[in-house]
Each structure stands twice: as structure tokens, then as C-alpha cells.
Symmetry: D2
């Protein structure tokens, strides 16, 4: 019913373009499924690769009209902006160092941007992109997809409502194992190249997700952090493991651990938050559940759309509890929020207050986080502020 309801709220679909995401990319395909799942977007144009031949092949495979397959994102931005039914929004799913360049072309032409994280590969780039986005009338949505999970919304709502009381402790971790040994396939290759991925390795690729999730769920603001970064695999030029201590304004403390060399961990993002009145625990690999431990009461297992879950989770759900939703549905929820904002923008309005998505400012914080980790680690894990 939720699926139906969503469709009903749209008059018609949003015309979408894509930069990056050619044949052998991973995240581009994910963005396309996410855009398609709830039928709110239709992909009509693409500059899918920096290699012209691959751009053409990839566009054809996706069934794009030949004249809307571009070899170059700038060319695409220019032409689509002039077309009568040109794209209204573009998904940017390139390696990080291209984000600013691509986003700028679309934002300055009033085309909304949905951009993969982290925002950029360098902090100066991030700051530039903030300015560009602020100067544009178009929307900028950062695909920190984990904020789209229903139970993450539930956790955020519970904390905002005061269910945990004053927050004290935040434990977030994001271990993976796919870089335990040296890898040379495409995904691994650019992610471990500082020129394309940025100065952070695991901190950039997954630490930013963890940090963003903490911000999103708790509403806490970071005061400072102390980071100890490692590159365990010989010859690796960026960190593959990071231990970070966190101090928040108001007194809460925390720890963030991200790693890509922890065997047995596939994608084990996990968030635990403790306050004066209770605790919450959530893990990405089992995302339909949220543990709530009210002080001096038994633990409760809150399930997506089950008893105890509220409207914030309900908005992000399609199917009944016990019917697991997963990563793609969570990702699609970012597109769902983007669609709501874009449709409101069509009419010169803001979306309703419940529509939430990561912004360019969240993206800046993420790049600041990477930068702070690198600076702190270079100074023997001294405390540093974002900046």
C-alpha cells in the first residue's frame, strides 16, 4: 500500500540524467535501481564514462536514445539545459575527484544534483562546491544512503523525542574485509588512489558514512576528534583502518572505527547510542530491526512497521514487517526524498518538514571529517577540530 500511495502522490516522473556509472561500475547501477524502484524517476540521458566508446556502449545498454548519450558531462549539461524535455536532475556517480567539476556544470544551469559521497576528494573542492550549490537555485542531494533506512529514521525520531534522555556515548563502527589483501580490480583501484579518492582511504569511503550517520541520528555536533590511521597493506597509499575518538559539544563522547581489512566483516556498519535514559542499537546487515533498551526495562526489538515503530519509519517503508527490505530500498528512499523535494521545487515550494536528505553541508562535514582524521593522525592523534 505504501508503494501505491507513493505513486499516487506523483503527477509524473522526474527526468534524470547520469554522469559516470558505465558498464563496469558498481555504484552507478545502484543509483539507477534506487531511482527506478518507486517509479518516480526516468533515466533519459547519460555521460556514463570518460571513455567515449564505453559511454556509448553503456548508454545503449541502458536503452537511452542515441542523441542523449554524451561523451562528456559538460556537453550533456549544456545541451540538456536547452532541451524542452531536458533532464531536471542528474546523478553524479563518478570517482570523487570529478564530483565538483561535474556538479558545477549542472547546478549553474539549474539542474538538480544527486551526488555520490564523499562530496569531493579535497577540502578546498568541498568548500567550492558548497558555494556553487548555495549560489544555485537547484537542489543538491548527497546520497548518504544509510540515512534512508527506516529504522535509522526511527532512531533519529526517538532521540529527537528524548527517549534516550541526554546523550552520553556514541559507538559507531564500519568494518569491511574486502581490502584485506592487495586488490587490483576497478573498485579497489581508484578508491586507494589519493588523486582520485582523496587523502582518506577507509575514512573517505566508509568512515564518512559512519560519521554522517552519527550526525544524522543523534543531532550532536562534533567538538573535536583524535584519529590514529593505518595502512596495513604494504604499499597502500591511503588508510585502510582508522581508530577515532570523538568529543561532541555538550559533553557526549564516542568512538568511530572503520576498517577495510577486518576479515569476516562484509559491510558491518553498526551504530550504538547511549543516553541517560536508555540505549539504541542498529546494524546495517540486519537493517529492519532496532534494539531499544529503556533504562531498567527489558530490551525491546522494534521492527520496521511493527508495533513500536512510528511514522518516521513508516514513511520509508514499502512492505509489512517480516518482509525484509534491504540496501537498495534504503538507497531508493534517498531518491524518494529527492523526488519529493524536486516535485515541490517544480512548484516553487519547499517539501514538507518530514522530507529529509543529506545536503551539501553534510557533504562538507564529511570531507572535513576526512581532513581532520588525516591531520590528527599526522600529529600523532592530537585533538583537532573540523575546519
Amino acid at each position: 500500500m505504501a508503494i501505491e500511495g507513493r505513486n499516487e502522490r506523483l503527477d509524473r516522473q522526474i527526468r534524470l540524467g547520469m554522469v559516470g556509472g558505465g558498464n563496469d561500475a558498481f555504484i552507478g547501477g545502484v543509483h539507477r535501481v534506487a531511482a527506478r524502484l518507486d517509479d518516480k524517476f526516468v533515466l533519459v540521458a547519460g555521460a556514463l564514462s570518460s571513455t567515449p566508446e564505453k559511454a556509448q556502449q553503456s548508454g545503449a545498454a541502458l536503452g537511452l536514445a542515441p542523441d542523449r548519450i554524451y561523451d562528456d558531462f559538460k556537453q550533456m549539461a549544456m545541451r540538456e539545459a536547452r532541451l524542452k524535455n531536458g533532464i531536471e536532475a542528474v546523478s553524479i556517480v563518478t570517482p570523487n575527484h570529478v564530483h565538483l567539476l561535474a556538479a558545477r556544470e549542472f547546478l549553474k544551469r539549474g539542474i538538480h544534483v544527486i551526488c555520490d559521497k564523499p562530496l569531493t576528494s579535497t577540502l578546498p573542492d568541498a568548500k567550492k562546491l558548497v558555494k556553487v550549490a548555495e549560489a544555485s537555485e537547484a537542489l543538491f542531494i548527497l546520497s548518504h544512503n544509510y540515512t534512508g533506512y527506516p529504522m535509522i529514521r526511527q532512531a533519529r525520531a526517538m532521540i529527537a523525542k528524548g527517549d534516550l534522555g541526554k546523550l552520553r556515548i556514541v559507538q559507531v563502527e564500519y568494518p569491511q574485509d574486502w581490502l584485506t589483501t592487495e586488490q587490483d580490480f576497478k573498485q579497489a583501484e581508484w578508491r586507494t588512489d589519493p588523486a582520485r579518492a582523496g587523502a582518506g582511504g577507509s575514512t573517505g569511503d566508509i568512515g564518512t558514512h559512519a560519521f554522517n550517520l552519527v550526525n544524522f541520528v543523534t543531532g550532536l555536533e562534533l567538538d573535536s576528534l583524535a584519529a590514529d590511521l593505518q595502512a596495513f597493506v604494504e604499499g597502500r597509499r591511503v588508510d585502510d583502518n582508522a581508530h577515532v575518538m570523538l568529543r561532541f559539544k555538550g559533553g557526549a563522547r564516542g568512538m568511530l572505527w572503520c576498517s577495510q581489512v577486518a576479515p569476516g566483516n562484509e559491510n558491518a556498519l553498526r551504530l550504538r547510542i547511549y543516553g541517560e535514559k536508555g540505549g539504541l542499537e542498529w546494524t546495517q546487515e540486519d537493517p529492519n530491526y532496532l534494539w531499544h533498551s529503556p533504562l531498567e526495562e527489558p530490551k525491546r526489538l522494534i521492527t520496521r512497521q511493527g508495533a513500536g515503530a512510528g511514522s518516521a519509519a513508516e514513511r520509508m517503508s514499502r512492505i509489512p514487517p517480516g518482509h525484509p527490505e534491504g540496501y537498495l530500498e534504503g538507497f531508493a528512499n534517498i531518491y524518494g526524498e529527492a523526488a519529493a523535494a524536486i516535485l515541490a521545487a517544480r512548484e516553487g515550494k519547499k517539501p514538507s518538514a518530514e522530507v529529509i536528505y543529506p545536503t551539501v553541508h553534510d557533504g562538507l562535514k564529511g570531507v572535513q571529517f576526512i581532513d581532520a582524521c588525516v591531520r590528527s593522525s599526522a600529529r600523532n592523534a592530537a585533538w583537532v577540530r573540523l575546519g
Copy 2:
């Protein structure tokens, strides 16, 4: 990459119609997402409700062209069969008693049918539908969606390969709790009406899924069953709980329990299979994992696309392990198999051997299962055969 690869293999999309699935239906929306997820189908026509006004509204909400919104499935079948770009396939997602009537109209016109389960509301209807399907050149695919889960494919492949040795014991259970008390909303209403749902309540709605899953995974053939059915909620006209003992040809034994009155169980389909050389355990609420217990070795947790998973699971996966796929993705895999079969049929071919989907014969078995449960229970849980 799997997502990309899939798209590449298609020349273009399959034109799909739908019967049932109007505004307030649940399973219709699920079918539409499943059809859309991998971009292999495009919904172009519908007879979405038996109430004309609702049919029109529902079709409009889905963006169907006005002339392809029908008030009546027969009218739709007739006209679409004549259109140059008429539908190639139709999804039938009505209450059970309409399945035969609707399917017949399309099958006899050569339009492929994807039909929700159970096959029909009565055994005679099921047998008729088998004949109709056999007489048609069109394909008939039954959406026993749980067979689409990657780890169910993995389990099937392991058993076929002999990893468990000769099978001895099959424990399958499917408890839910949504009918613990009397319910009057639409989903509950027709599912507890024998005229529309059939003689089975929980046996028909979920027991057939459990039974189908056993057949699909083990390849065992049932010899006989003994069933004890209950309707615990006062005034309920169909069973809401069933205990069934199973005897398979070749000597394996099993138990099937399905219930819709077991508080704390959302959709807890679970399958456990034991043979001379090992055991397998899988649960639908955590579907990305399969426990394998080889005799006298430690248990192993096989993950979708993780180490230890094979090509049968790989074919059904879109994203890396640790990134959970769920119910909709599993359902979409049925549509993926249907697409492969339909595309092969376009060229007068059979799909490759790895393409598997539940057929009209599986559907007949399911209705025979319901019928056998009801007969056995009426005879004080005597052993009965399917027939």
C-alpha cells in the same frame, strides 16, 4: 555489476499488463516493483480492479495510457492481443478465485501469464488451469516468490550436488501473527473467505509457500501427509493454524507448521533440511544467509555472494555481500526468470537450463496440498495422498 550485466542481456523491455492490484491492494504493488526493479518489464496496460471506477483511478495513478486502462480483464485480453504493441505478458494478482478465469483469457491468446499463488481457490479449477496452460504456447509462471531468494537457490544447488547426502528430515515452518485476533481490513477479509481464498486459510495463504519451498529446495516428492487444522479465532471459517506431518517417497520425513495466530512471528518462514552428511538452515527474515553444517565439521555461515556461495546464488544477486537484499529483490528474481524465459520464447527457444521458475504444475501441487490438508484434517489427521 550484476545489475548492469542483466540489462545488457536484454534488447529491450517486455510489455506487461496487470489484472488486479488496484489502489488498496498489497500484492499488486509488490508485483509492480518486482517487474520494475531490473528494468526488464514495462507496465503498459491494466484491468486493476473489478470496480470500474477504481480500475480507472488506479490505472491513472500508475500513469497508464487511458486507452489501456480496462474495466475488465477479458476486454483487456481481447484488445491487447490485437494491438501491434500489445502486452506480451500479464500479471494476475487478484483474489484466488479469479485466477483461472483471468489466466484463461490471456493464455488462449498466447499472452504469457505471471500468476500469484495459490494457483486457484479450488482443486478442480487448478486442474482446469493446468490443461489450459498445457494447451497454450504461452508461458505460465507462478509467483512463489520465496524460490527467488539467492540463498534458496544456493540450498537447492547444494542438495542437488549431494552436499547433504541422502535426505532424511525436512522441518519447515511459516508462522505469522497478523490474524491472532479478528481482523476486518481488506487483506484479512478475502483471505478468510472460503469462497474467494479457497478451503484453506493459513494452509492456502502461507502453507503453500512452505510446501513449495520444500519441493523446490529438496526435490523430494511427497508420499502422503497427515494434517491437523485449527481455526482458533472464533467464527473464522478457514484454518488459521496447521500442523502437518510429511512422508516423502524414498523415506524422508518432515513436519510443516503454518500459523497466522502466533504472536511475535511476523513472517517467519524457516526451512531446515537434514541428510546423512549434513544440514542446512535458512530463514526468510534474514534471507542473505544460509547455515551449512557438514557432519563433524564446524557450522559455516554462507553469505550471498560471499565465500562459499556458488553460481546459483550469484545469478540471483545484484549487490555485494553485507549489503542486504530482501523480499522485493527475491520477488524480482521471479520476474527476472520470467523475463529470461519470455525473451527466449520470443525467438522460439527455451531459456538456458539455469533459468527456473515455479510452473502451473507446482501450482497444482500447492492446491493439492491444501486439499489434502483439509481432507486429512476432516478424517482426524489420517494419512492422505495428493490428488
Copy 3:
């Protein structure tokens, strides 16, 4: 503190003897630890083996005084009954067929008996033992140890209090895997010999535990059962797998599955109970937790001595929640209850109402259960009553 408190309530220890439990026995050692754990018993005499040499060696190894090591339980009963500080209680831990013979010697001399389960190897023996026990002033305690787990007490108390409302469904299962292939070590050997173990294999060894647990926790009385027994391992003379449907007086229904040939199951006794107002789930391999699912509320995880646990669990606990107690502690709780009853009996009193232990009547029910399973299975799983 519970440990302290318990000791304080005793004036001194209870003098205990043991029949069976020689060097290479398993359950004898368990009984000794259970008796010792809370310091309420002191083992002072034993007829530890039917082989005199082994009886002597075993007694010496346990530090028994030479004159209280007996070659024969009858001799022990006679002499200990005459000693000034003779044993007050005896633990009988022999193979099943010896239980009646041994128990009779002690009961008729006023020595309390703590007897391993099942009560006897045959139903006539069980009925005789009931008479003997009824005729004796001494107590008879059957070591259905799983009733000693704190969370089992918690479940029983919650059901008695009406937390689940009227009960509808009981699912109990007890799979193991240690007899998946033919075994010839001592434990396996007598347990698969009908002359010593009785007509039931898995039904006797573990099915009786499962059945007893259902009775203990739910208070339901069985109306009839239908059982399908198998001996999967070639040449095995007793069942190694049993599927049993249960009908209780008052309308509740259930299923019992026990198996010793289910690879991957070590000792996976699991109990699930559903009523009109909620559900409870407990598993022996994780015994410090009890899931409670009140209707239309989130599931709660009740922990031993944690919030939500009540006095029935508290009485059976020694250490705080999060400090796991296990099988031996649960077993020791049977000895704790036995001690309370014996100490009350010293003063001609009954123990307080909260003291509960399985009796000879529970033992009779267990043997009737085995007998009923065997009878039903011989009649093609016909419904039979206990008797």
C-alpha cells in the same frame, strides 16, 4: 548473594549416596557437580558400577571412605539405612532399566531418591515405581533438569499469571546430531539398546525432556498424540527421530519434534508457546534469555535477573544478568529444590509452595509418552491417549 543466602538457610549438608555414575559415565558426574555446586549435599557413599572393580576404583577416585564404596546398590541401601550417619538421599544415575530396582531398595528404607530420567525403561515398571514411591515416606525427585533453568521458571510463572491469555499452540523441539551415524561408545550403546533404554530411542532420551518441559511450563494436560517414529540409521533398534502432533485438553494444539540425527544441532531444545495475548520463546542453548511477545507490542528480551524477570527466576539464579549460567547451574537447581524438600522433610514439614521439582508422577507421564509414541507409530500415527 544468592549463593550466600542459600547457604545460610541450611543448617548443614545432606548426606548423599550414588548408584551408577562410575568412571566413564557422563550423567553421574553431572549429578555430582549439581549436588556440590551450592554446597547443600555431601557425597558419602556409592555403588558406582555394576562391575565391582570399577565400583571400587570410581569410589576411591571420588574420595569416598573405603567402607562406603559398595559393589551393589542393595547392599548399600541395607547398610546405609542402619548407619547412624547413613545417607539421607541417593542419586540413581544408572541406565534406565535399573531405576526401578534401585529406587525400590532405597525408598522402602526411607531414603530419598533423586533419579535420572526417563523414570524406567518400561511402562509396567513405571507404574510399579509410582506405587513404591507412593507407599514410601521418602521423597522421589526426577531430574528433569531443564525445569531448573531460571527462565523456564519465569515462563511458567508468566503463563500461570495469564500473560499469554488462553494458550493455543505449543511448539517444542529437541534436535541433536550425535547419533547421525552409527556410534559404539558407551553413551550411545546403551541408549540404543531397547533392553536397557526402553522402547523409545530419541523419544525416551530427549523426547521425554521436551514433553516434560511442555507440561511444566504450560500446565496443559495432553488429550492425545499422533506420532511418526523413524530409525534412520541402518540397524538401529530404536527411534532416532520422532514427529509428534499433540492435542491438549481445552483445545490447544502442538507439535513435538525430537531427533538425534539432525546435523548442526548439538542440544537444541527449544520451546515456543502462543496464546491469545502473546507468545514466549526459549532455547536451551542460550538459556539466560526469554523472548516475550505481547500482542501488538514490541518483542521484549527478558534476561535472568534483569529488568522484567520476576521472583520465580530470581530464586533459581546465583549471579547477575550478563554473567551466563548454564546447564550445570540449571541441573543444580533441581538439587536445590530437592534439598529444600529434604530439609523440610527432616522436620516433618512440606517445603514452601515455591519449591517445585519433577515427581514420580511426572516420570510416569514421560514413560507413558514414550509408550504412546511407540503405540501410535505402530498404528500408522493414529491418535492415542497416554495410559
Copy 4:
């Protein structure tokens, strides 16, 4: 059988005394159960409280002979040392600040000491106690009970054997929730008093366990640590939460988190270790299991005495897999190792190489750990070394 076997190896029991552990103490009772469980010790003397009246009552409740109930540990040491059958060993279970004073009296008289952790309340005391212990012929065993868990022994053996390759990352955490709000009962009271507990709160009470477990399992040596300590509860004089980054010699890195204010965590000690070739994960609340993730193979669940477990775990086990052992059994294993060492010492020998227990040097490391945490935190989480 393991239980039997153990008993067989002893000629007779070891005579034990106890200092502390009066009526309302927690850990004293635990030590007594641990000593009793395997029948290797017999408690014959005690100075159970610093309050004479309570000492007498407590001793009487435990059934000690009146002349062996002492008001004072020095008096006890002096007299017992002269008795023909005086105690051979003493358990010291007082608040931390008494450990040195009490241990000295026994050690200098050749009486073996089993001492609760942390070793002392101050670092100077710890260093003195090391000297005293080194100067004594008697043994000193520190009851870091978590090292007694079979699967911890399994993990240690696997790492020693190289199953994980070179170690890279150690994540250890020990959250509890019992001090989330201010508490005034006895356990809480002295543990939060720096004069009796020492400068560390959670670091001393549980952080030392976590740190010891890391050392025990990995064999890594700490290079330095950086700690951020908090006292979240207003007015609390010692830390109730600690975040600690760890650097080990050889390049491994780690994080330690301990907390007593994390609602929903009862006693959630958890250890995760990652190396070049695999990972291990263990949690105290489910102690009979160890997850092993060999690189590029499925995860394996190793169970106590199950397939895949080795002799190191077997030595510490009493009962078959699936029959859970818990906290008390793990604690008893420390006493088992102590007994083996004491019995060897009786004959002037060393115990066999497989006998392992935490020593006074491990205790010193623990106090150094507390001291380093406090020093580091006072210097804004600067890196400090143990010393």
C-alpha cells in the same frame, strides 16, 4: 567424563582459606563456588569480614569450624601457617586496597594466594606486591576469570598457531549498565571510591579484564595508549566510561571501550581480533562459541567441544557442546589451573606447560593500565606507556 577425569588426577583436596567474602559480598561467593565446582578445594578457614561480628556469622553460615573463623587476616595467616593441616592456599576477595596487605601475610608464610583483580588499588602497591610474590616460594594466581573460558583458550591457541597470520587489529569492549544512575548499594559503593577501588572506576573494575584478555589471547605487548576517561554521573569520583586507543609493539592497533553507563549492556565483554589471514570474534554473554573467519572462506562457528575445537578448549570443558557452560565454570577453570599448579608445587614441581593462569605480573600490567589511562586522560589523551 571430563569432570571425572579431573577428580581422578587429584590425590585429595587442597585446603583453602578465604579473606573477605562475607555475607553480603558478591565475588566471595563466586570464588567459593569456583573452588568447589570440581571438588579440588575444601574451604576450611576464613577471615571473611573486617567486622568481627560479620566475620563470625559468615563463617558459621559456611560451616567453618569455630576455631578457624578469624576476625583478622593476619591472625589467620599466622595461626594457619602453624597448624598441621593448615590452609595451603588462600583466596583474597576484599576490596582492592586490602589486596597487598593481605597477600603479603600469606605469601611470606608460604601459603599460595589466589587474589581477585585488579591486583591493588595503587601502582606502588602493585609493584610492592610483585616483589613480595617474587620473594615467596608460594604461588600467586590472579583471578582474571575470563581467561578461564574454554573458547578464550581456543582463541589463544589458534592465534599462537598462526591461524590469523600477523595480527593487525584488536577491538575489545566491555560495556555494562549497572551504574547508569547513581547507586548506593555495597557493590557500587566501594567500586566508586578511589580510596578503596583505586584511581580507576570502570577502567579498574572492567577495563583491566578487557586489557588482560587482549594480552592473554593475542600475546601482543602494548607500546602505548591514549585514553579519554569520563565520569558521566554527576558527583562520581572515578571514571564510568573510557575510550582508549591502543598501539602494540610490532604495529598492531586497537581500541578498548569500557563503560558502566551503557543501557542495555549487562556484561557485554567482547573481543574481536583481525590478522592478515583471518578474524576471530567472541562475546562473554554467549561464551560457548567462537567465530572464526578465515580469509576468503565462509565464517565458521566453533563450539566448545564441538568439531573444530581443539585440546586447549577441551581441557577447560566439563560437558558436551550444546550444554552451555557459563561464568561460574569459567571462573572454576582458574581454580582448576591453580589446583594443578598447587598440586605440582606440593611435590616441588612445575605444572605441565598447558596449565596457564594470570600471574602477579599480569596483575601489575593491569594496574599499570589503569594508571596509564588516568595519566593519559589527564594529559588530554596523550600517548603514554605503561610504567
